[in-house]
């Protein structure tokens, strides 16, 4: 009524509220990344907040995990949709995708662990759109004989990005080393010949030592 039609300036009280909420979410991702079984108490203290406050923002543990998952899905689908729009060959698209999605995947790697157990159902449901986009990409590659066809696109895509997550979760996760290894490995299991895979990710020896 009185703010000239401008959206209210989110009076700094509200801002600080949202900051707490976001901090909780960020920290939760870290803590759960270390230990998927961490409790609300662990998350709270890691966020410099009392357990009760966490419940103020997220009525239940499931709400927290769900919010986290929704965040991940949003970021992933954004990258996937954008990359998928290119008319490059499927294998090149895959390389582009891994490169762009690597930081996100590494950040949300815990969701893969969380898929098994308690919240598996809920997470699986929310992750559906990502799975579909991924399967579409692999299927496109299979239809043009760029990817191998020894497995249906749905399963092959799951395995391929499962490996990517697994590498993101390993010791190699730091630096570009992990991303490179993940890209090559996933390309190989998608049936892309080794020479082509190396060419796609950029030259240089790939020997480990």
């Amino acid at each position: 009524m009185c703010n000239n039609g401008v959206v209210p300036t989110e009076s700094s009280r509200v801002r600080s509220t949202n900051e707490t909420r976001d901090r909780i979410l960020d920290v939760a991702l870290d803590v759960l990344g270390d230990n998927p079984d961490a409790g609300m108490g662990d998350i709270a203290s890691a966020a410099d907040v009392v357990r009760r406050t966490v419940y103020g923002h997220f009525p239940s543990r499931l709400d927290l995990v769900r919010t986290l998952t929704e965040r991940a899905v949003t970021e992933m689908t954004a990258v996937l949709a954008e990359v998928n729009a290119s008319d490059a060959e499927a294998d090149a698209t895959w390389v582009e995708f891994i490169a762009r999605v690597w930081p996100v995947a590494h950040r949300y790697r815990v969701l893969l662990a969380l898929r098994r157990g308690e919240y598996g159902e809920a997470i699986h449901g929310l992750l559906g759109p990502v799975d579909e986009l991924l399967a579409d990409l692999v299927k496109r590659g299979q239809d043009r004989d760029v990817f191998a066809q020894h497995l249906p696109a749905g399963i092959l895509s799951q395995l391929a990005y499962g490996v990517v997550f697994a590498i993101a979760d390993s010791d190699l996760s730091n630096g570009t080393l992990g991303a490179r290894a993940a890209t090559i490995t996933s390309l190989l299991m998608l049936g892309v010949p080794e020479t082509r895979a190396i060419a796609l990710v950029g030259g240089g020896s790939i020997r480990w030592r």
Copy 2:
């Protein structure tokens, strides 16, 4: 003293005791396979036994899991050592290994899930010998340029049999279909060219549909 030097006949009481114990172990594998978080109660009732009886055989949940793991390690190392003794090329050895280990892997697939969480430490320790034998095999392949070298043998071997377990855990786990898919996929990610991989697992079209 009185049984002519023959091993005592395990008086049928002892036998029935061991039968219960074995049944509990077998059933535990199934139940935990369905839900790695299943409790002692679930296992007990699935084995047609009271919870208290389970504790009679295994003082703690960890003891049960450990026994299960020891069983798995015994079976796996037996297969691995035997297969590894052949002087065939590493990729052929890998195929032989997967074929022989497939039923075992499928049976003990839950251990992979159990490695994360509570008992991870204990299981990881017991599984050490298996990991080493596996890494040796992959390394042998890398040294002779049969396998790709974009990752160190230790990690590559983990990823490869991680995929095998993942497929064993999926819908394809029935019949020889899963075994075939697992073999081809793991060969691909080990850097074996598609044509060679198909030749190794035996002819026939590999197209999914």
